[in-house]
């Protein structure tokens, strides 16, 4: 991204020396705050992740020893509770990401396509209705969800109208895939899957699928994020215009074909952004777990973010907590990189390359405030739609 810009600098010369100073002065608050509350603490935490600090006194005092990779080993390679907890958290979050990202992308795309009709009456009303959950706090939504999906909550009451005996959502640790397999009579995995595993979990446990409780959380997150992403898609759709599509309608192609062959390819950059933000956000789920399930039932809603927090703040395993957060950092980077590789065009025009560079920077900008997912993604909307429109 060209940051120096291409503005004229005729007048700039007049105040050159002054600008040099004011430039730094203007950036100083940002530099100090980001430096003190971001850069330095990350270095401190990096040290903690390699130390045996147990949470009292200074992590830099002489009582604290360098512990090598032992904290990382405890969660990654050494069989034990710390490792299997970490494995469980990764399992839970992987399923969560795998389902939430496609579903929220599809839903928000669908909503946007439906609303992007010029003739549609009450369009403003629908947009407001779909977007409203995105502005509320994840804490408030979680409290509401705990009620709706309670054992005798609203959802189960409604299900009972149609004769379905709903599960006890937030207390049901059964994996969805295992429920499915169980319904066709498979309740034990083959020994190939049960005898071998990764990170202290057998493959059978990895394949259990998200628990019913996690599924309820997924629905909640999709409910709160779809509005934000919908707005991004709407902005992108508006910039595409309806011309090509209208011609296509008359050519007799059906709506489905038009969506897949005309609209979606043009939306690719926005889809890319939405998926990237989705991946970054879903790997950080914390607020909902802290407020709602605290990792239960049976640790099936434990996520790496929550595990990192509870290892440090509940169990005095600060080194392990910090180690988990750095591993999580790496996971997020790797996941977004993989996604980039998968969604990348094989041949990229120069214009597109430039566009992707801009998109990348803007994605990062949005991800910053999208952290914790839930509702923070408001900012994703304004930056990203801005650029989508621009292109």
């Amino acid at each position: 991204m060209d940051v120096t810009g291409t503005q004229s600098h005729g007048a700039t010369r007049i105040k050159h020396g002054n600008e040099r100073l004011s430039g730094w002065l203007f950036c100083m608050p940002m530099l100090v705050i980001l430096g003190v509350f971001l850069v330095i603490p990350i270095t401190m935490a990096l040290w903690v992740s390699f130390s045996d600090w147990s949470g009292r006194g200074s992590p830099f005092s002489s009582h604290v020893n360098f512990a090598g990779f032992s904290n990382y080993a405890a969660v990654l390679t050494k069989p034990g509770l710390a490792q299997s907890d970490f494995g469980t958290a990764i399992r839970n979050n992987a399923w969560y990401t795998l389902l939430v990202v496609p579903l929220q992308t599809l839903l928000s795309l669908l909503l946007a396509v439906m609303l992007n009709r010029r003739i549609l009456k009450a369009r403003g009303f629908f947009r407001t209705a779909f977007y409203f959950p995105s502005v509320t706090s994840s804490v408030a939504i979680t409290v509401l969800w705990m009620f709706l999906f309670g054992a005798s909550g609203s959802i189960n009451a409604m299900l009972s109208w149609v004769g379905i005996n709903g599960p006890n959502w937030f207390n049901d640790p059964r994996g969805l895939i295992q429920i499915l397999l169980g319904s066709i009579g498979i309740s034990k995995g083959p020994s190939v899957l049960t005898q071998h595993g990764l990170l202290g979990l057998s493959w059978w446990e990895w394949l259990a699928g998200p628990s019913v409780a996690m599924f309820a959380i997924m629905l909640m997150v999709i409910f709160t994020t779809s509005g934000t992403f919908m707005l991004m898609f709407i902005a992108a759709l508006q910039s595409i215009g309806e011309g090509t599509e209208e011609a296509a309608i008359m050519d007799g192609t059906n709506a489905w074909q038009r969506l897949w062959h005309i609209t979606v390819p043009q939306l690719k950059p926005t889809i890319f952004t939405v998926v990237t933000l989705g991946i970054i956000g879903t790997w950080q789920v914390f607020d909902q777990i802290y407020t709602g399930t605290k990792g239960g039932p049976s640790k099936t809603t434990l996520t790496p973010a929550y595990l990192s927090y509870s290892a440090a703040f509940d169990n005095q395993e600060w080194g392990q907590g910090a180690a988990i957060s750095f591993v999580l950092f790496v996971i997020i980077i790797v996941m977004t990189w993989i996604q980039r590789q998968l969604m990348k065009d094989r041949k990229m025009s120069r214009r597109k390359t430039a566009y992707y560079a801009a998109m990348k920077a803007e994605t990062l900008a949005s991800a910053q405030s999208a952290s914790g997912l839930g509702t923070g993604q408001g900012s994703a909307r304004s930056t990203s739609t801005g650029d989508a429109e621009h292109v």
Partner: protein, 416 residues
Amino acid sequence: MMRGRTAMATAITAVAAMVLTACGGGGFSSEDSASAGSLTSDSSKELNVLIASSGDPETTAVKAAVAAWAKKNNRKATVSVASDINQQLSQGFASGSPADVFYLAPEQLAGYAANGSLLAYGDQISNKDDYYQSLLQSLSYDGKLYAIPKDVSTLQLVINTDMWSAAGLSASDYPKTWSDLESVTAKLTSAGHVGLSFSPEYARVGAFMAQAGGGLVNKDGNKATANSAASVKGLTEVKKLLTSGSAAYASDLGAGWGGEALGTGKAAMTIEGNWISGSFSADYPDLKYKVIDLPEGPAGKGTMQFTNGWGIAADSADQQGAVSLVNYLASNDVVMGFAKAFGIMPGNKTLATQWKDDYPALSPFMDGLKYAIGVPTAKGASTVVSDFNSQLAQLKTTEPKTILDKTQTNLEAIIK
């Protein structure tokens, strides 16, 4: 550009220097926990008391007692109710500004004591031999007593007497054995409620393991016995009750704990402790219930016992004041006041008889002390127990031995 980079580097260095200076300065307190002779005594500071409350009656009673002490000693002291006391204590210790006095659970004690967060003030308590030895043991670490027991609790069977008689049962049907329990549980089950309900945690199902002669650890807490034959037998009985359909976990009934399941009529019996008396009179004043002994298992009577200590932070600015406050809170009158307000049992022998006389209906809880087992207290035990608890949720579909084997491995890793 070159100059820009230098300037940037300078700025970062400056900021780093600033932070490091702060590190060396007042940011951290000293590492040493005060020894008995040299307690801090800055009485200008307000004393903070952090409690985990079972409800309004407990909060009000503790606040009143602390206020009384403060008035008598012309001090300031506040009571805060924690929503998650482990987290709040850990964060407080790590931040260097913990609460001065707090409820301290034995399973958390080792972790805090090991990093020097706690003041080992036990030697300064005059009547410490009056407390039950098993309680003192569970509140000690490395040979030092870190807290005196605030109270003691045991589990027994609590029954809804209306449902009991509605099912055609009488006092002669009180279950004496596991098979008695199975049959009354079945009889008490109807379309509207199950016969028996309890929380999926070691602190409840452990009673069955005790009745079979097992438990997660042995009596001295220095050997893991999670997958012993006796423990497996106890957990198998729990599984049998659950799979029969006449017993269910409270969480599966949409209740937060067994008492709520009983109070809201979702279960006819529950396994809970003496704290029910306080919360039932507050939340379910119309509920008619009776406390009876848990049935005997293959190894005779068995139940769980719990205690909470009064902990004092090593980082407290006024350890002397804190010890004085704890002495006051542990004095006979205050303890009996707490018993009256929210149903605690005193942890010392002197008060036991008086308590039984005052609360005959709750006397099974006091009797339980004779045969109760405790919870594991080794460092890291709380994580292992919570892992065990999380597996219990799936007991219905899992072999008890599988669960206990895993817990055995985890316990062996922490008990050395």
